[in-house]
């Protein structure tokens, strides 16, 4: 029996049908169509989070001087307190609230009589205690139901205190995963923040780094590399960023998009409004980084910049070559399964390939079809009720701030080449016979690990221990297990060291994986027809 069927067979027919559409055995000559960004099946333990998690936790959380008040009962604020390793550097004049957790801690009477009053009072207290220059209000499930008008409260606060106050209606039940929260956060940042800055940018190689949250310092390493070549990073969305950085994003000449899923709305809206095209990049993996650097240099089309790019690539490579060769010798031929994010499961395949590790299964928690199959499928995705519930905003070109670095003609050429404004998804980079599984749940994780027996499973803390109980090394790609950075050249070495250490840790030699003692059935049943 085929691996997919062996997993699916344990479901009832309804679930079988649903889940089957989320699983693809990659065939570069076939369609590889996958179901994604649709409702989670209740009762099957998903690793997905909620809308609030995507909005507050992912996109807004890393902005260091945003004073984020979680409006709702205490749990959601507590659970999103300091759980993501988005690092930020302290700087004078920019408050850093990343160590804090603020909540209105709604109680039963507030649910009955409304929580607006408490929210207002909380803002008053925030102003008295901290004097933040920006307050963000993020609502949790009950707030949308009891009808608190958080947007009106935000307007009141702006007027009362002369600060920026933005409300995010990111109730947990909206959408089908974190993805809805990304969208809501993107909308409000475009609406209320981007375009307001007036920083003077003199460097024409000015870029935005979108979808980089500086987990474990990834953003810092990427920034170091880009600055070395001569780029100026106007803003990073949103790792290590301040509101001021974000407000100046319209000053760049190109947006680089690392995590496509969480930030593509902003990338597109910035292009429409300010004329700045975006380029999907990948700073994870040696080859990926080199290709990215060359692509960016091509866009800017400056001989000196191109020469510097090559010189820096050569130098950075020199510094890591020996280490990487050693780790590659230890890791070559190993296999990996990756289940994370809305872009990471794609990025890390490049780095693993650099190390000789073959990815046999990859999936996203909250990716849409375009992250699997590429943006060419966008016209064919019919919005369902859940996506329609998330506001989609449109913008017009801003006559005063619209600027083009290249001519329309040149841009169109690059578009044709799919160098800008395009993302091809992960499937094109996967080998025939490997698997894509969307919204891989707790149960399937265990089943796939048993059947595919990868040497490493990359995921998060929730499924880490399932894998390791099954004898498979598991590393968290959400938090990097207190390690990192993993980006660019130096990061690749950190990553290689971490997984080499993991695979060869002596504990495994004392603990036998179940299938190493129990004979596997796969060989006997291989090639059987799909039922």
């Amino acid at each position: 029996m085929e691996v997919l069927d062996r997993v699916l067979d344990q479901y009832n027919s309804k679930v079988y049908k649903n889940r089957k559409e989320h699983m693809v055995k990659v065939n570069q000559h076939g369609s590889n169509e996958i179901a994604a960004n649709v409702r989670t099946i209740p009762g099957i333990i998903t690793q997905r989070g909620c809308c609030y998690a995507g909005c507050k936790g992912v996109v807004l959380g890393p902005i260091k001087d945003a004073f984020i008040i979680t409006h709702g009962p205490i749990g959601c604020a507590f659970y999103s307190w300091g759980t993501r390793r988005h690092k930020a550097k302290n700087e004078e004049g920019v408050a850093n609230y990343l160590q804090y957790c603020f909540s209105t801690d709604l109680q039963e009477p507030d649910i009955v009589f409304g929580g607006e009053k408490k929210l207002k009072k909380s803002i008053e207290e925030a102003m008295e205690l901290f004097k933040p220059s920006t307050i963000m209000i993020c609502s949790t499930c009950p707030v949308g139901l009891i009808g608190d008008d958080i947007h009106a409260v935000a307007k009141w606060a702006e007027k009362e205190y002369g600060i920026k106050c933005i409300a995010f209606s990111c109730e947990g039940y909206k959408g089908v995963s974190q993805s809805a929260g990304h969208h809501i956060a993107n909308n409000q940042l475009v609406r209320y923040v981007i375009g307001e800055g007036d920083r003077q940018i003199s460097n024409k190689f000015a870029i935005n780094l979108l979808g980089e949250y500086n987990i474990g310092g990834d953003g810092w390493e990427t920034e170091r590399l880009l600055k070395r070549i001569g780029y100026e990073i106007v803003s990073t969305f949103t790792g290590n960023s301040s509101m001021e950085d974000i407000s100046n994003a319209h000053k760049a000449n190109l947006s680089l998009v690392q995590c496509h899923r969480s930030i593509n709305y902003i990338a597109e809206l910035i292009e429409t409004k300010y004329g700045i095209p975006w380029m999907k990049v990948n700073f994870i993996g040696i080859e990926g980084t080199i290709e990215t650097l060359r692509n960016v240099a091509r866009y800017f089309n400056d001989p000196e910049l191109t020469a510097r790019t090559e010189a820096v690539i050569a130098d950075e490579l020199d510094a890591v070559r020996e280490d990487l060769a050693y780790y590659r010798s230890k890791l070559k031929g190993k296999t990996a399964a990756i289940y994370v994010g809305g872009s990471r499961a794609h990025h890390y395949q490049f780095l693993l390939e650099d190390l000789g590790v073959h990815t046999i299964l990859a999936g996203y928690e909250f990716g849409h079809r375009e992250e699997y199959e590429g943006r060419e499928v966008l016209p064919f995705i019919k919005p369902d009720a859940d996506s329609k519930n998330i506001e989609s905003i449109t913008v017009e070109p801003d006559p005063a701030k619209y600027h083009l670095y290249l001519s329309e003609e040149d841009l169109n050429k690059l578009r044709e080449e799919k160098l800008i404004d395009y993302y091809g998804g992960m499937v094109k980079d996967m080998k025939d016979g490997s698997y894509m599984v969307d919204d891989l749940n707790h149960f399937e994780t265990e089943e796939f690990l048993k059947l595919l027996k990868p040497d490493i499973f990359f995921s998060g803390i929730k499924d880490k221990y399932v894998a390791q109980k099954g004898g498979v090394l598991s590393r968290q790609l959400h938090s990097y297990d207190y390690s990192g950075p993993y980006s660019c050249f130096r990061g690749a070495v950190n990553f290689a060291r971490d997984i080499t250490m993991g695979i060869y840790t002596p504990a495994w030699s004392y603990a036998m994986a179940p299938w190493k003692t129990v004979p596997s059935l796969e060989g006997e049943l291989g090639g059987e027809a799909v039922c």
């Binding site: 009762g43 749990g75 649910i111 205690l129 947990g172 859940d386 707790h442 803390i461 109980k469 179940p514």
Partner: protein, 866 residues
């Protein structure tokens, strides 16, 4: 710290009900739980539990979407139940609600009934509804509610048997295992509810079990109604939902509530109870454990007296820790819980009596429904030196530089949370040893410094003071200082202009109310219109036309000049372009001075005033509420230490580069008054030119509102005493951030020669005492009476020291005018030369003041017009 600010929770010390419910359900055999709500709740809770237990945590969700909020979640919940059953084959399913389900009013009991009707084949699965909205309580209430609902939902067999029910609050798996060992050692037949011992601390097995194989069997739970009795190991379960009470009231099963067996007394109590219950002797092994614990209590007691512990967490946990501390002579100066804790407060007060008498510590803080922000402030205030609680306290421990003994839930920054022990003699001993070792480590790492500071530091300071050869301040006053009214008391005729371009501040002084201008530099209680740099330039250009002798431009707030450095820089650059000669002067609290000293020098700032009230962080902690440095807020001594380190480093940097520095010191009665000479000494070491000791003018609404201001005589005495060390400023006007003109011009200071205090009735030459009035926009205020003799006794370097007239003139050198009955020609000329206007009058003082003021105003306006 926060006082009445109770709406905004800053760093919560509690979690929500579903977390507790999910934890309790993990102690039931072959039980799965599903949270009815949006999937984020499950994901978040699994993430937190997995990080604490280092185990897989399977909690399902009904994954409600927006549609569910409109049409109800029945379909989702049913489908979730089917899938759970199909995939996991559980015997029990706990359905815990969330905020969402409760807000839309889901009737879970009804949905379960419908479910059984539609799917009779699943009737063998016991489905338990638990109402656990996140807004109704903390994880503690959620846990107790879950146990209560489990017992209520499971069909009970009332046939009597010899088993004993044992019900516990949330324990670590390791503690649960220990409890079972104890119960087993008495040969007791018991039903333990719940039993987390295996499910959340599994070993490495060849095959991972999806469905929790350990835990309390539901068939056993069904027998609880027929048990001999219930032992409820939770002091506070009765405050919410008590399984023991329920079984007693419904089935007549007697219930004995005991404290958690933590520490000697409560462990003894449980063991004695078990002994009586079973008629068996306490096993020898346990008696040995007790002996070792007692031995350790004796051995380590000497370390305990110095502990000032802060304990926080769930009520049962907090109370047990308090009792463990008190029986060891440790005083918990602070106990806190995020839950409601009326009874906890009562019990702790009783508990503290004994140890309070031994240690003679009376003050203790007990907080309930509290967040970590408040705990931190109170811990600082209570001088806590050790914390006991979950890992969320690590931020406070880090900030206060004190150890944290991790116990309770969650432990997210260490591994092994599931193996931490508190129960029994052994668990208690593990805590006791940790406490003792923390105190030993603390002593070991600090006693050398402390003893050195006590016996040698002062001596050292004296020596260094003698050895430092700082050039006399006077010799370094250059031309600019000669024409700077704030630095030279003889520079009256020169005008200075303060540009209010700096609204923000980066520290909080307890004598300040932030809605007003910074009182370090400005008259307290006034506010200033903020100018943009460009506007400031315009104002300067206009003023330059009008005001003669405008020699100085200063930035003095209304916040802190360096907390607004871009604006400060821009303003100075703009003005410098227009005027090459103007003197730049700047006032600051000094926090950012080391960062910007070089910039200030290159901008051409020649005079800097720093307000430095202390040179000792422990005193500074009483003056500064917080210090915002590099985006991070520091409070207490940590904040004060950063501030004064930077002040001193900044001053040194500036003086070494020839910048003239003045230090303002606000004299605060009972706080820094006796410390000021040390500050002045330090200033001298740092090469500061002069210090300006200023009185506190209490601002209503500030922390120091009630602080008694120092009297004029105390202030003068302090200035005089410090005058031996360093030059003192006597003529400070404490002016506004937008002041313009010669010192005091916008409001006149007028000396009146009067004996009666009612009429102008004295000859200038006969005055022994002046009445000094402040005239401001028609308001007259008596500021002080000034003794001529007293005033002139100081070590002042003003020239006229010898003759009496000279002394009189000197005593009012800071006034704009003087009103006397009559005055001789010579003194009149002398006063004129000093820029002091002379008026003769025989009217009542008030009338005379108005007349004089109007003349002064006309004079000033004429001056400007010219």
């Amino acid at each position: 710290m926060r006082g009445t600010l109770v709406n905004l929770t800053v760093n919560p010390c509690k979690m929500c009900m579903p977390m507790g419910a999910a934890t309790a359900l993990y102690g039931i055999k072959k039980c799965m739980s599903i949270l009815h709500g949006s999937q984020g709740c499950s994901t978040y809770i699994r993430r937190h539990m997995a990080t604490h237990y280092n185990e897989p945590v399977d909690i399902a969700s009904s994954s409600l979407t927006e549609e569910g909020t409109v049409y109800g979640g029945e379909r989702n919940l049913m489908q979730g139940l089917i899938n759970l059953i199909k995939v996991y084959h559980p015997e029990v399913i706990g359905v815990a609600t969330t905020c969402l389900a409760e807000t839309i009013g889901e009737d879970v009991q009804r949905i379960i009934s419908n479910f059984y009707e539609i799917y009779p084949e699943y009737r063998q699965v016991t489905i338990i509804p638990i109402a656990s909205p996140g807004y109704s309580g903390t994880q503690y209430e959620g846990y107790m509610e879950a146990l209560y609902q489990i017992v209520k939902a499971v069909p009970m067999n009332t046939v009597r048997h010899q088993k004993v029910n044992v019900v516990t609050g949330q324990l670590s798996p390791a503690d649960t295992r220990y409890l079972k060992t104890i119960l087993d050692s008495f040969g007791l037949d018991y039903i333990l509810l719940p039993d987390l011992s295996e499910n959340l601390d599994g070993g490495y097995e060849p095959e991972y079990q999806k469905l929790p194989a350990g835990g309390t069997d539901i068939r056993e739970i069904g027998k609880m109604a027929g048990a001999r009795m219930t032992i409820e190991l939770s002091t506070f379960a009765g405050e919410t939902k008590s399984v023991g009470r329920y079984l007693q009231e419904t089935y007549g099963v007697p219930c004995q509530v005991l404290n958690l067996p933590v520490g000697l007394r409560d462990s003894d109590r449980l063991l004695k109870f078990l002994k009586a219950l079973t008629g068996r002797e306490i096993p020898a092994a346990i008696r040995k454990e007790r002996a070792r614990y007692l031995d350790a209590m004796v051995d380590s007691h000497k370390y305990f007296g110095e502990v000032r512990a802060a304990i926080y967490g769930e009520t049962d946990f907090a109370y047990s820790m308090v009792r463990l501390c008190t029986e060891n002579g440790i005083f918990p100066v602070l106990t806190a819980t995020g839950s409601k804790g009326d009874r906890l407060k009562e019990l702790i007060r009783e508990e503290l009596q004994g140890v309070s008498d031994i240690l003679n510590i009376r003050e203790t803080i007990i907080l309930d429904e509290v967040d970590f922000q408040t705990i931190e402030a109170r811990a600082r205030e209570a001088k806590v030196n050790l914390m006991i609680g979950n890992s969320d306290g690590r931020r406070i421990a880090g900030k206060l530089g004190i150890p944290l003994i991790r116990r309770g839930f969650p432990i997210h920054d260490h591994v092994g949370g599931q193996r931490l022990r508190i129960l029994g003699y052994e668990g208690s001993l593990s805590i006791l040893d940790e406490i003792a070792n923390c105190m030993i480590d603390r002593k070991e790492s600090s006693f050398r410094d402390e003893l050195y500071a006590r016996y040698y530091k002062k001596l050292q300071a004296d020596i260094s003071m003698q050895a430092t050869s700082v050039k006399p301040a006077e010799s370094r006053t250059d031309d600019r200082t000669q024409s700077h009214p704030c630095f030279n008391c003889k520079a009256h005729k020169y005008a200075r202009m303060h540009l209010p371009i700096a609204p923000r501040c980066n520290i909080s002084c307890n004598y300040c109310l932030r809605k007003y201008d910074c009182p370090n530099e400005s008259r307290p209680g006034v506010t200033t219109q903020i100018l943009k740099p460009q506007e400031a330039l315009q104002k300067f250009l206009e003023a330059r036309k009008k005001v003669p002798y405008l020699t100085v431009v200063g930035i003095a707030g209304p916040g802190d000049a360096l907390a607004n450095f871009p604006e400060t820089r821009k303003t100075l650059e703009l003005i410098r372009k227009e005027d090459q000669d103007i003197t730049f002067c700047l006032s600051t609290n000094g926090l950012m001075l080391p960062h910007y000293a070089e910039d200030l020098i290159s901008l051409g700032v020649s005079h800097v005033t720093v307000t430095m009230n202390v040179v000792d962080p422990s005193i500074g902690a009483k003056i500064y509420g917080y210090v915002d440095y590099m985006g991070v807020r520091y409070e207490g001594e940590a904040g004060a230490a950063i501030l004064l380190t930077n002040q001193m480093a900044g001053l040194k940097l500036l003086t070494s580069r020839g910048i003239v520095c003045k230090v303002n010191i606000v004299m605060l009665k009972g706080i820094n008054d006796s410390h000021i000479p040390e500050v002045v000494h330090k200033c001298k070491e740092l090469g500061v030119t002069m210090t300006n000791i200023m009185p506190l003018i209490p601002v209503k609404g500030s922390v120091f509102e009630q602080l008694e201001p120092v009297g004029e005589d105390e202030l003068l005495a302090m200035r005089k005493a410090c005058g031996n060390t360093l030059k003192q400023m006597y003529h400070c006007r404490q002016c506004r951030a937008d002041a313009l003109g010669t010192l005091g011009q916008e409001s006149f200071s007028i000396a009146v020669a009067s004996r009666s205090g009612i009429m102008v009735d004295q000859h200038f030459g006969h005055v022994t005492e002046f009445y000094i009035y402040q005239y401001h926009n028609g308001d007259i205020q008596l500021k002080e009476t000034r003794q001529v003799e007293k005033y002139c006794d100081g070590s002042l370097e003003c020239e006229e020291k010898e003759d009496r007239i000279g002394r009189i003139i000197h005593s009012i050198a800071d006034c704009n005018a003087v009103i006397a009955l009559r005055i001789g020609e010579a003194p009149r000329e002398k006063l004129k030369a000093k820029g002091i206007q002379v008026f003769t009058d025989c009217d009542g003082i008030e009338a005379a003041l108005h007349k004089a003021a109007s003349k002064l105003r006309i004079k000033a306006e004429n001056h400007m017009a010219k």
